[in-house]
Point group: C2
Chain length 611, copies 2
């Protein structure tokens, strides 16, 4: 039922329903196409090359593209719809700014200024007239009186210095020389950026001399065996030996990803001199072996807020023995370095008009503001959107219905094109919005029963409304379409979970707006980040009231912005200063302590009357 769209040059693929925009398919594949106009077709920025398998050129595209471009196969990603399996090439110039910064060859816009640098030393050889110490010889050659040398590097120096006639390479991290390598290895410098999610850990190998991404690998965070959410992890961390287990578990996962990345690139682990990590505050604490227990107890203080630089070996991460680890600073106990990464990648530092960033993962974090002032908050909204507490809920894995389109019947797209075994968050939003539009779900959240189906509802749709033990339900996949013993349903109880989850996110947004005195019309842009944010249909998110009623075209996908932030601070230390400023200056609103949150929450539980 789905079609395969492969994106070049990465070779990443996504399965989507026929009729989906190329733009959405790209987001699904983790490729964020730049859409300054919000996909209205007015800016012409989202040009991609498609050979066939798409809808015919429309008038908007004819207006925005030159004849030469059309001849080359250019299309607008916000206009072209996928019809069958196809291959799409996304030029660097069409990519979202902060992703492009790391991958493009445009020159001026690439910021490559990593903390780890390699510098060639060509020093004179020792003589009786020049008896300088080996370390002075290299420090003088580097002109670096402010540099210090790690003891283990100093131990290597006599040999490295004499291997090639006082020609050698110093590896520096900030003001520290952390290693020496014989001869000239300056074009061989690598780092890995990690996004340590509650559910998934992703690593990206970067060439630190160019900023280019060489490989990406991911794994399920093995801590899930101690629970799906941060509260379960914190609870286990408080048990005897639990903190050590959780730390060893995630570090093992990081090391496996490192192995995969270096194998893919034909490197060794010792070639990696730095890694950066973003994650929520609990993931951050567990990675560093910091006790997160107070994050779970009022008033929820984290142990560490600021960014941390330390030898990666100190936490068991096996890169070069003296390689370093930088962890993104946090903002508060429930707004972590992942949100700082989102703020960084979303370029709030240059936003003059109020912008809202929403990152829905296992938790939901929201940030509203401008370069002048940022307010943030967090809700435990995520679990429902990640499949938790939904009867047939599951993560976005093979067999998950991930897209649902309503018409005469429902059309569903299943990940891996397999028989359905459940539904993930984006399908949950699609279905809820579809049911509202079809009149099968009331604004109060009540699902109609088989006998209450309004007139005019197509028959095949109406037949999906069923009455099961415990209440009304809607059939997303009939028993014969699933790998289960029965159908995949969305139940009344599930709808209540959706109401709670979307209500919490929306109420958080309302509190942020109230704090800044900002109305819906003042919000220049809504940035949807994170695993879930990338896959929801904007129109459907608006329909269920997850987002305030903001013009569709002002809603943008920014991909895994947290991971993009990790790559940015890896490639360029300038971003670390910005991250520290964000961490220091962004305000955190404790929703539980605000009476207005309860009021907004009660209101936001309802679904909007109409679009």
């Amino acid at each position: 039922m789905s079609v395969r769209v492969t994106f070049e040059p990465e070779g990443k693929a996504a399965f989507v329903l026929p009729g989906s925009l190329v733009l959405e398919a790209a987001a699904r594949a983790g490729i964020i196409v730049d859409t300054p106009c919000g996909g209205r077709g007015t800016c012409g920025k989202c040009r991609v090359i498609v050979r066939d398998g798409c809808s015919p050129l429309n008038d908007t595209e004819r207006e925005r593209l030159t004849e030469a471009e059309i001849a080359e196969g250019f299309r607008l990603a916000c206009q072209a719809k996928v019809e069958s399996d196809t291959i799409v090439t996304v030029p660097d110039t069409s990519r979202f700014f902060e992703q492009r910064i790391l991958t493009a060859g445009e020159g001026a816009r690439i910021c490559v200024n990593p903390a780890v640098r390699k510098r060639l030393i060509e020093a004179p050889e020792p003589t009786l007239d020049d008896q300088r110490a080996d370390t002075d010889r290299v420090l003088d050659a580097l002109g670096g009186d402010a540099l210090t040398i790690d003891l283990e590097a100093a131990r290597q120096l006599p040999t490295a210095l004499r291997a090639d006639g006082c020609r050698l390479t110093a590896v520096t991290h900030g003001d520290n020389i952390i290693a020496f390598e014989p001869a000239d290895t300056t074009d061989h410098c690598f780092g890995v950026a990690f996004d340590v999610g509650t559910t998934t850990v992703v690593g990206s190998l970067l060439d630190l001399s160019t900023g280019h991404e060489m490989a990406v690998a991911s794994r399920t965070n093995p801590q899930v065996s101690w629970g799906d959410d941060v509260i379960a992890r914190i609870s286990h961390a408080g048990s005897d030996g639990g903190l050590g287990e959780l730390q060893a578990s995630v570090v093992g996962c990081v090391n496996e990803i490192l192995d995969e990345l270096v194998a893919h690139a034909g490197l060794t682990r010792e070639a990696i001199y730095e890694i950066t990590c973003v994650g929520n505050t609990t993931m951050h604490h567990l990675l560093l072996g910091l006790d997160p227990s107070h994050v779970a107890v009022i008033p929820f203080p984290p142990v560490v807020r600021r960014g941390v630089v330390l030898p990666a070996a100190d936490v068991g991460i096996a890169i070069h023995p003296r390689g370093r680890l930088y962890t993104m600073p946090n903002i508060a106990g429930y707004v972590g370095g992942d949100t700082v990464g989102v703020i960084l990648a979303s370029n709030f530092a240059e936003r003059d008009e109020p912008t809202l960033a929403v990152d829905i993962g296992t938790n939901g974090e929201m940030v509203l503001g401008t370069r002048e002032r940022l307010v943030s908050c967090s809700t435990a909204a995520g679990p429902a959107f990640e499949g938790a507490r939904i009867q047939f809920g599951m993560r976005a894995a093979e067999g998950a219905i991930e897209q649902v389109r309503f018409g005469e019947d429902v059309a569903v797209s299943v990940i891996g094109d397999a028989p359905a075994r459940g539904l993930c968050g984006s399908a949950l939003v699609d279905t809820t919005a579809g049911l509202l539009r079809a009149g099968l779900l009331e604004p109060t959240g009540r699902l109609v029963g088989p006998s209450e189906v309004p007139e005019g509802v197509p028959e095949r749709l109406a037949r999906r409304v069923v009455d099961v033990e415990g209440g009304n339900a809607f059939v997303l996949a009939h028993a014969e379409e699933t790998s289960l013993d029965g159908p995949v349903l969305l139940t009344q109880r599930d709808i209540r979970q959706v109401q709670l989850a979307k209500g919490a996110v929306r109420a958080g947004i309302e509190v942020l707006k109230a704090e800044l005195g900002v109305g819906d019309d003042d919000i220049a842009a809504v940035l949807l980040a994170g695993g879930f944010g990338n896959f929801i249909r904007r129109r459907n998110a608006l329909r269920i009231g997850l987002l305030p009623p903001i013009e569709h075209s002002r809603i943008h996908f920014v991909g895994n912005a947290a991971a993009a932030g990790a790559k940015m601070v890896l490639a360029c230390t300038d971003y670390r200063e910005r991250a520290e400023a964000i961490s220091r200056e962004a305000e955190y609103l404790e929703l539980g302590a605000r009476p207005d949150f309860q009021m907004h929450f009660a209101e936001a539980m309802m679904f909007p009357e109409d679009e």
Copy 2:
């Protein structure tokens, strides 16, 4: 034959021959009395309290001391001679400046500004209105945005912070917080200063809140089992696994001394947050596990010159797990941190007139200059003065003749008042000088034979001149006075070794003088430092030509100035800056590369014709 002199308040004792100055006995006990006038009795600075057992008050003392002082038992250490067992109290005000700095209660002159500090934090407890991270809470309380926190300290923080209601103690090292301790432990801060000698390792435990020395302990450097001198050690370091063996060996010794010190003071090793080490460049390298092999090969470059700060645990030293080690900077491959310590403790930074410091240990290091310019050099002079290559030579241990006085016969003082089994360096100088004065040794270094004894030599002296296999010799202890099967002799061959050793030191001094264009009369002070330097009789050192013909009163003992330097940099980081400046600015003259050294050496082999 010797008498015991006990010095208070330390309780340290020395055995000396009757008739020795209290000043000399004090030096022997490692207590350096201040003698700005060089012991001429003109300054009255060296006042000590002696109850009895000394020569009667002389006119000089009557002139310098008030009647009240005389009534209290005050004497001048440079005038009073020991006659029998006695107890001497040395007031702080009479001590050598740089020793006094660490032990006195005088206020203004004490520099206590250690790298390790304890600071009390009294922070507000977390609330919903104050959700700061634990680390921010303590950093804000310390007003320290520049401070960083060691990961392991951050791991301790949640517990330490809550143990006593946000009242806790931060242990800082420079800008690093290395530990937290619950409640207020600010009056409990300790460090140990080590002098890591080729032969002996000495540790001094200091209370870092006052600068007071609490205990001293020493051990033979166990590396002696791989050879007496640095060349033998370097050679072993080059063998398979040798460097690791040597490092583990000296670190084991340091740890044993630490155990003894903390046991003596009723502390634990974890209470020690910093140690400092001085040592020659080879000892420094072996302690840090740096390959010293190039120090032994022309052009002799060390690996590291500058001072190094690192976690003590990185080299296996077992103080607090995050305690630090500071190693004194070196000057060159053969002028190490011990010499920097001597320069520091000898206060060259305030010397306007040319001063010569001579530190004779296993090696001999010499420094000449002023605050403006310092030149240094090194010779392998030491072994003879430490007993090596002398037939009955031995270190200054029990059974060693350590003082020899010539009269109608020779009177010897044996360490431990035991039967003699050899002689140490100070006795070697005494004997050589005595033989020259008695006419039994010619300026060329030829010992007379039994048939050549000049007229007028007392009979008992003359009988000590003997003819043994291999040449003439002089009997220092007759067979019946020794624990050996025969007598303790000084042989013609031994005299040749003395000539080589003293010739090398003296030639080094002459090269330094020539380099600076300084004559003997320009040298305002000669400072004798180190184990050997403290025990030689100045007049005898002058007689054999070890030192240039400089007025006796300008020669001062400065004790174990290298160890004093280690204590200074432990107690006060201001001295570390001064040490780094000395290391950077002091010039090193490679004697082997200078033709004038050979010329001076040939000349300095001879003994002076007369006093």
